[in-house]
């Protein structure tokens, strides 16, 4: 099986974004960068499929930072090679999908994984757009996956329930927490990753007009600490009941 995974390089979840001086972008100079956590579920699932069926696992990223170390973490987990398209991966999700589709078409994968969403912008739309551009089946927010022959059966998470969806290869999957527990790179994996091929390409953006412009970015108003109640349980309970009835007004 030839399996692709689209991985996005993003600020890690500890990041506290600050508003940059232009008022339209974030100052992320203090951020540490990682592979978007949901993409790691995709890498893990791809590696398991390779272990069961043989084949190749390829990482694809649209990223202009020039920092290859983050993508190498995916190679250290066990992927065979990586393709970095050196363009702006945050410009517009439609554009991102167009550029990723170009690579996916060339590579002709049996299966392509995505994360449910790229943390940071939280667009949650690139996989659905790629599916339309490539006219391929797509199953999103997947928490369970079975591949038998050329038939894929996936369980996807919906609010308060699950859906069971079937499709034939080639298929696109967006991974949700619950699908698996991503492995940590081993020391051997980290060493091996240094020698694995990383191809670089230039993007071919579509000439479509972008759908929107960022007017400004802002931080939510800070929450202030409220009343702290120590002391006897009995009094604390009374305090909560009073708060629920007088402030929150739900009882």
């Amino acid at each position: 099986m030839k399996i692709g995974i689209c991985v996005k390089r993003v600020p890690d979840t500890e990041t506290r974004p600050k508003v940059a001086s232009d008022g339209k972008t974030f100052d992320l100079s203090e951020a540490k960068y990682v592979i978007s956590p949901y993409d790691e579920f995709g890498i893990e699932e791809a590696l398991k499929l390779k272990e069961a069926n043989g084949g190749e696992v390829v990482l694809i990223s649209l990223d202009s930072s020039g920092d290859v170390s983050v993508i190498r973490n995916g190679l250290a987990m066990g992927a065979d090679r990586a393709i970095i398209v050196e363009g702006d991966g945050e410009r517009d999700p439609y554009e991102t999908a167009v550029v990723l589709s170009d690579v996916l078409k060339e590579e002709n994968f049996d299966m392509v994984f995505f994360g449910k969403q790229g943390v940071g912008h939280d667009y949650q739309q690139v996989p659905s757009i790629v599916a339309e551009i490539m006219n391929l089946p797509m199953i999103s927010v997947v928490v369970e996956l079975k591949v038998e022959g050329d038939t894929v059966t996936a369980v996807r998470e919906i609010e308060g329930g699950e859906e069971v969806v079937e499709a034939k290869l080639p298929v696109l999957i967006s991974a949700q927490k619950g699908l698996n527990v991503p492995r940590y790179p081993s020391l051997r994996g980290i060493m091996a990753a240094k020698r694995k091929p990383v191809d670089k390409k230039s993007p071919n953006y579509s000439s479509e007009k972008l759908s929107w412009e960022v007017e400004k970015v802002e931080l939510p108003p800070p929450r202030k600490a409220g009343k702290i109640v120590e002391g006897e349980v009995e009094d604390q309970v009374k305090e909560i009941v009073k708060f629920l009835s007088e402030e929150v007004k739900i009882i």
Binding site: D122, V141, V164, I228
Partner: protein, 322 residues
């Protein structure tokens, strides 16, 4: 010309967030002096409420099955929209359903979408929206540069409004040949019927590592049941295997905006706060007076949760006569 709203129909019942989205769309339709048209797939017992919450017309698509695959929905909605050369917007609620289907449709118009918005500035020209980024640690205000707009509205943020529009139903048939389907929806399962969904809940009671084990979630559930609340959890509790990941609140779980969030034995890590700090009120119960959660809590109770939570449940039973 019209504004369209894709309705989510599950188990023959329209989901509440769809009505919220419908009301938000109606206000935009009014601004453009045009119709607000709901698109519904299959039979729904509460379809008469579509008019009530703002549908001027309803296009009901009959496919002959309750299990409608995403390709069928994308194709049918695309066809409907293609017949309206000047449609202004397509709305849905930002659920698993809406977030999956709407970008599939917008892609055919070569557009991205404004996913999971929390505010629509109806009076700005052009229209602007606000959406959370970094799981709510920040926001982007975005200006649309071009029609049509594709928008999903975050559940529990936009309020349903009574418009009492006509909601006149027009039925269309969509024949589906199973062989042409790229993906086939085989089954829909409901987990824990009667449970309140986190993203739609008005009240959430959440437990963290302080719960110490799966068996103790019973005291959270008892309190939640009394308050008509959904049960949430921190990632620590989920990763320990004490509760299913569907309950996880936070940056890699669900983002919630209830009226009140009650955090029990949760320290308040940045990833957890990202998911719940847009709650209107926060109550925290934690035995550590220095826990970061107290910095965001409107009411902080420094105590052993195993004493306070059951006592609170007993007291509420008295107050509520249950």
């Amino acid at each position: 010309m019209a504004v369209y709203v894709l309705i989510e129909n599950r188990y023959n019942k329209i989901k509440n967030p769809s009505f919220e989205s419908l009301s938000a769309a109606k206000k935009l339709a009014e601004k453009f002096s045009t119709d607000n048209i709901a698109i519904l797939f299959g039979e729904a017992e509460n379809s008469s409420e579509l008019g009530k919450y703002g549908a001027d017309k309803v296009i009901k698509v009959n496919t002959g099955s309750d299990l409608v695959s995403r390709d069928v929905i994308i194709d049918a909605v695309y066809e409907i929209l293609s017949n309206d050369s000047d449609f202004k917007a397509l709305f849905a609620s930002a659920t698993s359903f809406g977030k999956d289907i709407i970008p599939g449709i917008s892609a055919r118009f070569k557009k991205g979408i404004a996913q999971d918005i929390t505010e629509l500035f109806y009076d700005s020209d052009p229209i602007m929206i606000k959406r959370p980024v970094f799981a709510g640690k920040a926001f982007e205000v975005i200006k649309f540069t071009d029609f049509p707009y594709f928008i999903t509205t975050r559940p529990n943020v936009f309020k349903k409004a009574e418009y009492n529009s006509s909601g006149e139903i027009k039925e269309i048939e969509k024949s589906v040949s199973p062989d042409s389907l790229k993906t086939t929806l085989k089954e829909m399962k409901s987990t824990g019927s009667g449970q309140i969904e986190l993203t739609e809940a008005n009240v959430i009671v959440s437990g963290g590592r302080g719960m110490k084990g799966p068996e103790n979630f019973k005291i959270i559930e008892d309190l939640a049941a009394l308050l008509n609340a959904a049960v949430g959890a921190s990632r620590a509790a989920v990763d320990e295997g004490w509760i299913d990941h569907q309950h996880q609140v936070g940056q890699t779980g669900k983002t919630v905006s209830p009226t009140v969030y009650i955090a029990c034995g949760i320290s308040g890590a940045i990833q957890h706060l990202a998911g719940m700090s847009s709650s209107k009120y926060i109550i925290a119960i934690n035995k550590d007076p220095d826990a970061p959660i107290f910095k965001v809590a409107d009411l902080g109770i420094v105590a052993d949760l195993f004493k306070v939570v059951p006592a609170l449940t007993e007291e509420l039973k008295k107050v509520l006569n249950k």
